[in-house]
Structures are given as structure tokens and as C-alpha cells.
Symmetry: C2
Amino acid sequence: MLDDIGRAAREASRMLAVTRSEQRNAALKAIAEALRANKDAIIAANEIDLENGKAAGLSAGLLDRLALNESRIEGMASGCEEVAGLLDPLGVVDYKYTNPAGIDIKRVRVPLGVIGIIYEARPNVTVDAAALCLKSGNAVILRGGKEAINSNITLSDIMRKAICDVGFDCNCIQLITDTSRRCAIELMQLSNHLDVLIPRGGAGLIKSVVENSKVPIIETGTGNCHAFIDETADVQMAAEIIYNAKCSRPSVCNALETLLVHEKAAEKALPVVAEKLRQKKVKIFGCETTRSILGQEVEPATEKEYETEFLDYVLAIKVVKDINEALDHIQRYSSGHSECIITQNKENAENFLHRVDSAAVYVNASTRFTDGNEFGFGAEIGISTQKLHARGPMGISQLTSMKYIIHGDGNIR
Amino acid sequence: MLDDIGRAAREASRMLAVTRSEQRNAALKAIAEALRANKDAIIAANEIDLENGKAAGLSAGLLDRLALNESRIEGMASGCEEVAGLLDPLGVVDYKYTNPAGIDIKRVRVPLGVIGIIYEARPNVTVDAAALCLKSGNAVILRGGKEAINSNITLSDIMRKAICDVGFDCNCIQLITDTSRRCAIELMQLSNHLDVLIPRGGAGLIKSVVENSKVPIIETGTGNCHAFIDETADVQMAAEIIYNAKCSRPSVCNALETLLVHEKAAEKALPVVAEKLRQKKVKIFGCETTRSILGQEVEPATEKEYETEFLDYVLAIKVVKDINEALDHIQRYSSGHSECIITQNKENAENFLHRVDSAAVYVNASTRFTDGNEFGFGAEIGISTQKLHARGPMGISQLTSMKYIIHGDGNIR
């Protein structure tokens, strides 16, 4: 069955690759209108998922991610309209060369082809991902979690009908309705039909995809993020940044997980930071020096805490003897997502920027900024923590490949 | 053992990532000098490989690939100097954005980190690949074929000593001396130490890497390339291009393998093309129409011939009823490397360029131009036939990743 879906996606992608920008934007607007027009059907399908979820004992957090209401549907619809408003990433020429033999070489942005998205309980991913793939000229195969299956089927049917009505092959968007693990593994083997597979979800999902996929993948969303307060830091600024990075939305991948503090700044900075974090009752694990400064109610930090992406009101703190120890700690424990230095010293700032090997490296700003919208890309499909193809927030440009177009006049080599 | 090699490469890559352009160029020049100074040792080691190869019954072609002599050593040395002369791909800023919150975002080119190269009998790959990785700030782990092991050990030792003498960690370049298949598979599992694995070699090697690798890979070098002579083609130009694409170097991936001819051009064009190909005694497999025009000494072409990358003086020919049938044939059989249309009709040319989904698409020029040097990149590490990360000839820019560097002044989100 997946083979048929893959074949249909490949076929649809050929047609989609040669559509004009206006046609793809019209399709996105048609989806937005259709979502609004069918909101009752979406809410009804979502209610079945919510009831099943409650019966299955899903947590309140998971049920919240699963829930759709009028305002969330409007959010998905206006999201599609925003994507329609972005500049077309296709057809952009980023390299030109006339070689000594006289041929004219141009490198042009083209779609990747067929993109697989494998995700969990959030049904809005169904619409967001489809919109970004459509905009960038890619056919998409969606595979969401079983918790959201009724919502996803309804959303997918609405989108397919909407694009079909404006002249697109409905198989530009396909949903896999078999939510078994066996079928997910099968999707990961579909290398003849899929150009890339992007997992969106928790660490368990990402790990399973990394281990099982024969399709090229882009790893996203694991963020064990660090901040380093150096000896010259403005303590007040440090406290504001740490509070924002840890507490503004602890469940997301760009939230802070470990704070490193220069030993010469620790006595002064730690009490101010801790005082601020108390507003959200942040639980702190600390090294021995941290505990001697903040008191023994701080629990001892071990290897385990430094390795953990808490995604909660929890922070690990370690006092280090200098910037080199901070860099070594980051090198060892970071997932390569976002790190930040708080400093008034330019040399330390440049040293940190140069030597930290992560997607986003900050001086005196919160790691929470690592986001496609904040970076000026419009919407994002995820945040890549790998180095191949795309790194950091992935917008529609990161969903493209390139092709060389060469004009000659009988040239031979 | 591979784990130690991987760890040492990662450590070396941290140092390498912060070297200046002049330092890396000096290291490349030191390698060039050392290769020249040690040419006798290289030739002596190579002779052992050649003797072992003869004893093992290697083909003349394979022995030729394996052989090093003074001029080939000079070629490797001057190759390193040419790479040193290329513009530094690192540090290039390709995106800038000041967001509404006031942070300054820059996207900067950085090394990928650690690159694995897995290849076959050609010992010059040992030097070429190491030079390109060094230039682009990447540590490299080389794993060549057992046929060339003595040459490779000598070349690797010379390069390691040369870069060490100019202050580099010698583990920027490492060679795996265990040439067993088990060890190759182990390398493909080294995902915690390798950022990318690039196979260079025949279809069997590529297939094994695709099937076994847990490390992100870049597929290179499979070229089932097509040319299409449309009804408006200049027959003389067509014959020259086909002859060049097929015969100038049939063993390489950008050589032509299948010729498609519009039925209205076939009677006129095929005899001229065939006459030209007779100079190199090219063996032709043809469809029924081709055989009715060129005679029954042309053997019948089947599915198998259309699928085959001959890499030899062999060509498949098919007469098609129009450009759409040509596009369908290419879509079905092409490996996505290089295709060409020969036409005097602009609309057909644009249609072909737009709709063929391959790395390089030509109008009125030979597919043999698909090459890093011809495309203006200087040297190349291979030709990617996948769409993720890099497509087509891969120069040093394609051996880089990116990193976002953000300057703030206490900004929070």
C-alpha cells in the first residue's frame, strides 16, 4: 500500500514541480478557505480523538496538544495564507558561470520532490507541513500519531479536495491512515519514492527514525541548550536572559537546560539568577560550588542532569573555572541546537561564537530566538540539529534542492 | 579501534575549524612538497600493490587505476597546490537579518566537521580527498580498497607528517588500515563521530553504503545519462555531441548511455550518428525502428540495456514518438545525473530543461561537461546524484555547513 502512495506522490510531484508560484499560492488560499468552511466537521472529528484519548488515559498536556477549537482552526487557516504570502523559493538562481568552453551554467532552486513527515499527536502539523511542502513545490506524505487519526483524516480530506478544486493532483498531499509501528518502519524504507524524511516530535521518535530509516532524514528538535555567564557579564542582564530562556516556554527545544557560570562571577550572579527563577519555582540541580553558594536545597547535579533535556521548570547549573571549561562542557553535552554567552568582553564573545559548534550561537540574547519566524524565514518545518543540507530553523528554502541548467551551441569537451 | 579514530578525528576537527585560511593553505603546500620529496617511497609502496594485484589477477584496467608513477605523483602534488589556491569557503556570510526584537543574525559557512570517504583501488583519491577536506576545514577518515593499501599507508603517512610539521594535529587526516568488509560496515555505523560519509566508486560500493550506513551519506557517481535528438536538431551538431558524450571517456559517470531520437528525426539523424560512432566501434543496442534504419547488425535493446550504465563503448538507442515519450523514458531510467536535448526549438529546450529532474540538464552540449572543474568549482570530491545537501559536482563549498551567529544586547523573547 505504501508503495502505491509513494508512486502517486512521485507522479504528483512531477506536475507540482512545474506549477507557477501563483498556482501554488491559490491552492494554499483554497485550503485556508476550506478549513474555515469545514470547521464543524474538523471539531467533530477532533472530539472523537479527544474522547478516545481520555479513555486511553492521555495526560492533560497531550490532550491539550491534540485539541482543536475554532481559534486553532483559524490559526491553521491564516497560517496557510501567510505561507502563500512568502516569496517563492523556486526558480531562484544562486550561481552563474560561463566556462572556457563557452557553455552557460546556471544553478536554479527546484523542489526536493517527495517529502515524508512523521509526527505525533498535534493535528496542526498536518496542515502546517502540507502548506510548507506545497509552497516549495514538494509532494508530501504525512504520517501522524494514532491519537490524532480522526482529526488528521478530516484535515487531509479537506486539503486534498481544496487543491483538487483548483486543478492540482490531490496526491500532492497524502495521509497514511495506518498508524501501526510496522507501517511507520515501512515508510522509513521507502527510499525509492521519498527524497527526504523529516521526523517532528520527541526524542523517542527521532531516535527510532535515525535508527531505522533508509531514506535520507533531517534530524530536528532536540535541544540541550546552554548559557554561559562569563566573569564580565552584566548580572542583571544575565538574570533576565536566563529567566527568559528557561521559563518563557520550557517545553520547547530552544529552552535553556544547563547554565554554566565562571567561578569569578558565581558569587555575585548565582543568587540574582536563582531569585529570578524562584518566580516560576524552577527546580535546580547544581555542582558543589553552586550548592555552597545557593544552599543545600539545590540538589546535586550528576552526569545524568547534564545530559537531560528537561523540557520543564528544571535547570542544571555548573560553576566552571574559565571559558575553556565551559566550551568543553558544551562540546560534550550539547545537542548542537542553541547556546549563549553573556559577557561584556568582545574577545570572549568572539571566541565563544567561533568555537561553539551549534546551529545557533548567541551573545547576550536568549536561546528562545532560535525559530524560523524570529530568523525572518516566515514559517518553519522544524529546527535541524544536523549539519547536512540544513542546520537550524528550516523554512521553505530549506525544502528545496538545486539543478544545473546548461545552454550550449554544440559544445563538446 | 574505529571509535578511537573517530574520537581523534572529532578532536582534530575542533582545532581545524578555527584555523585561518593561510594556515590551511600552508598545510596543503607542505603536502605537495612532501609528496614530491618522497616520490621514491611512494613508487616503491605502489609497486608492492601492483605485484600483489597481478598475482591476484586484477584486470588491466584496475591495475592502471592502481598504478602511480612520477607524473601521477606530480599530478597529486600540483592538485594540492591548486586546492590551496581556491577561495576559502569558510566564513562566507550568506544571510543577514536584524529581527524586530533587535538581534543581529548572520549565517556563516562552517566546516561539516568529520567526513568519511570510502573508496576503491585508486590511490590518488587518498590525496585528492584529504586535500579538499583540509581546505574546507574538515577532518577526514579515509578508507580505501585493499588493492591500494601499501600506497595508501605511504601517502597517508607523508601527508600526516607534512601537516604536523606546520603545526596541525596529524589526526586531521587518518587512514583506516583494516581493509576488511567488517571494518567498512563498522565505519558506516560510526554516526556519533562522522558528520557525513561519501562513497566514491562503483555501483556495488554505493549500494552497500546506502543499505548499511547509519551515517548521513551523499550518493555519488552513478550516471545513466541520456541525450534526446528532437525533430528540429542540427544533425551534424547532434552527431558531434553524441560522439563526444559517448566516446571521449566512456568509463566515467558523465558519459552517455542511451540516445533517444524523435521519430521524425530518426531517418536523417541515425545514419549520421552511427557513422560517427563507428570510428570507435561502438556497439549499439536499438529498438525495432532503430534496427529497421541502421540494419539488423544492431542488437535488440531490452529493458536491461535501458537500465544499464555501460561505462564502455556501448550505446542503447530508442526512437520515440515525441518529447513526452523521451521525458517519460528519462524519468523511468535515469539515475538523475546528466541529460541533454539537441534541438533548434527554444520551446522544446525550455520544456526539457524544466521537466527533466536531474542534477545537470543540457541544451546542445555534451553531458561530459558535468564536472567540478568545468563548472568553475576547481576540484571536486564527487558528483552527487541525490537531492539533499548537494546535487551535481561537489566542490569545497559543498563540504561546508552553516551556523547562525547572533549578537544581542540583553534581548529576550
